[in-house]
């Protein structure tokens, strides 16, 4: 197999998710090829980099954001409701509304 083909198998090889025969092919190749051995080494070194951890207040910040988002939605919904009520009231006070209202009373 060519180095490029081996290179494409390396991420799966390192995760241990290759089939046995592919695994053997990779191991045979890297035993003989210095370039691919170096490539495996650099992949393995990548695992030495520490996993970065989020700041301690991350969860609280998320909860505050969710609450603010929900409150914003509720306020918006209440605003639409108020504006609907307002528009019905305004219509009843308009001349056309007044006629309709009078007719309904009669």
């Amino acid at each position: 197999m060519k180095c490029e083909e081996i290179g494409e198998l390396l991420p799966d090889y390192l995760q241990g998710s290759l089939k046995a025969e592919q695994d053997d092919l990779v191991e045979q190749h890297i035993a003989e090829c210095g370039d691919c051995r170096e490539e495996v080494a650099i992949w393995k070194k990548l695992s030495l980099l520490p996993v970065e951890q989020p700041s301690a207040g991350s969860r609280e910040r998320f909860e505050a954001m969710s609450r603010a988002y929900q409150t914003g939605r509720n306020d918006k919904a209440a605003g639409i409701e108020r504006s609907k009520r307002g528009s019905v009231w305004n219509w009843l006070r308009s001349p056309v509304g007044a006629v309709a209202w009078s007719a309904a009373l009669l």
Binding site: E8, L10, E39, I42, L49, R59, S66
Partner: protein, 215 residues
């Protein structure tokens, strides 16, 4: 009262075991509080993804919050059956791209993010880790991202292909080229030389957005 408490505990347990996709459907149907479970599952891996790709911890914290805000805002766009992991990483990429559109970057390397020296490490290993971190940060962001997705987020080739909107073969080639560049950078740093493509990654290196359900 005790029965109610027991029922709540059972419900919490069930939520903790539920697949991501089921939880996201609940969020989509209005159960915003369920998003907390998904936050607990994904915020640390997402932070690690952002921190490794951007090299900026403060920005990474902000972007993680932005991802979850977008999930709330655009929850209706989540289509049942879509793998949640692919969906959230797509949102994460878009959030980062949008951020750089608004705020072009100038510096990529945060000294505080140099790998900490652990007491159990040998001096040589610590030095190697630091050099590797520098070699990674000297790569264009596009290449760094594909390595981080493959090695740290453990996404499969086909998942990365869907995420980046390209062919499987292209992903394989790009990962191979990226690891070779990292190897070159690392070797040059080891020899005390400036890498070939040294310098901060700039906004032009961020790939364009390409995906069906863009949010």
């Amino acid at each position: 009262m005790k029965e109610q408490e027991r029922a709540e505990t059972e419900n919490d347990q069930a939520m903790k075991l539920a697949p991501d996709e089921d939880l996201m459907l609940e969020v989509r149907n209005g159960a915003g509080e369920t998003l907390g479970v998904l936050f607990d599952r994904y915020h640390a891996p997402l932070f690690n993804f952002y921190a490794k790709v951007t090299g900026d911890r403060t920005l990474s914290d902000d972007l993680v919050q932005e991802v979850f805000l977008r999930i709330l805002k655009y929850r209706q766009s989540y289509e049942p059956g879509t793998p949640f992991r692919a969906w959230i990483y797509q949102i994460a990429r878009n959030a980062r791209v949008d951020h750089y559109r608004k705020t072009p970057r100038h510096i990529t390397f945060e000294p505080e993010m140099v790998a900490p020296v652990m007491p159990k490490d040998s001096a040589q290993q610590s030095e190697e880790t630091e050099l590797l971190h520098r070699a990674l940060m000297q790569m264009p962001e596009e290449k760094r991202e594909i390595l981080v997705l493959s090695r740290f987020q453990e996404l499969k080739y086909d998942e990365i292909a869907r995420l980046l909107g390209c062919e499987l073969g292209t992903v394989k080639t790009r990962i191979h080229r990226a690891i070779q560049e990292l190897r070159q950078n690392f070797k040059q740093l080891e020899r005390g030389l400036a890498p070939r493509e040294a310098g901060p990654a700039v906004v032009k290196n961020i790939p364009p957005r390409r995906f069906g359900n863009e949010v």
